[in-house]
């Protein structure tokens, strides 16, 4: 029993590490994108594109996480990465 829990926890930890790596990869791609948008004079706030992303997230979600929960998780990811960009541009 205990060893089975240990094993599952180890797998959860591995997935978390992978999530961290992937989220930072996403942030770096957004950084490149923001630089290009800045050059083109485009604002960071783009609710149309955001909605596209969130809709696709829900569509592609196969569960067991609810579509609405997945949307919430991604909304937070999108906004936190966007916040990072707002601050990065200011203090660089």
């Amino acid at each position: 029993m205990d060893s089975r829990i240990e094993e599952l926890r180890r797998r959860v930890d591995e997935v978390d590490l992978e999530l961290i790596r992937i989220l930072n990869e996403r942030a770096r791609i957004v950084q490149e994108l923001v630089a290009i948008k800045g050059e083109a004079g485009m604002p960071l706030f783009d609710p149309r594109r955001e909605e596209e992303i969130l809709r696709r997230v829900a569509e592609r979600n196969e569960g067991p996480i609810y579509d609405t929960s997945m949307r919430e998780i991604f909304e937070l990811i999108l906004h936190r990465i966007r916040d990072l960009e707002v601050q990065r541009e200011e203090f660089r």
Partner: protein, 274 residues
Amino acid sequence: MSISEKSAAGVKTNVSTKNGMIQPGSFRVVAGPCTVESYDQFVASAKAVKQAGYEYVRGGAFKPRTSPYSFQGLGEEGLKILSEVSSELGLKAVTEVMDAEDIELVMEHAEIIQIGARNMANFSLLKRIGAAIAGTDHGVVLKRGFASTVEEWLLAAEYITKEGGENVVLCERGIRTFETSTRFTLDLSAVIVAKRLTDLPVIVDPSHAAGRRDLVIPLSKASVAAEADGLIVESHHEPQEALCDAEQALPVEGLMGLRETLRPFASAMGREVL
């Protein structure tokens, strides 16, 4: 200049609206009484705005009052006084619309439509206004709901721009907090955040935020420093007699001194007070 330095996410003193309300490198002051109470009252208050050198006068005809028994504004009669006086004095008028049925009427009498904090999330009104002002020089001052996040405020503006409305100016007017020494809490960080995220100009209403006139000038100075593009302040020729928000209106001498008080702060931010 590197890409990041000139990114859209940086500090912007160069935002503008097509109708000239907000101009690059400027700090726009809109002043006037909370409400159009009578011809004599409004002309006296508007003359003070003109004498102080400002180009935009505010004055409410439709008033969103907390109590249905409070003075609700003069309605169409108030709009007529507003447009008559402002055109006599060569001022542009800013006034609130509360009901979608009144949009065209308000547009006949005022250049700038104000959407109050209580209507910020009235999405059908936002859409109707966006469609009504599309292709015109009419502008909108969109006040932030006093319980709304910056995200919600920006999305409210998007309802207007999506319908073709241009000349949208955001207005921070204080949010509800636990603090009771001021009427609301002026959220200057929201001004900066909104400006980092969008190219929409952001102005500040220190009068409604504070609810007391002694804070209006200090908060106005702070607004300049917080990268705001302008102010909308309440002023009255006889504040003690005002039918609405008397305790927050600047008297004539306060309004006269505002420009000189703001000048060094605006200058430090690379702006000229208009």
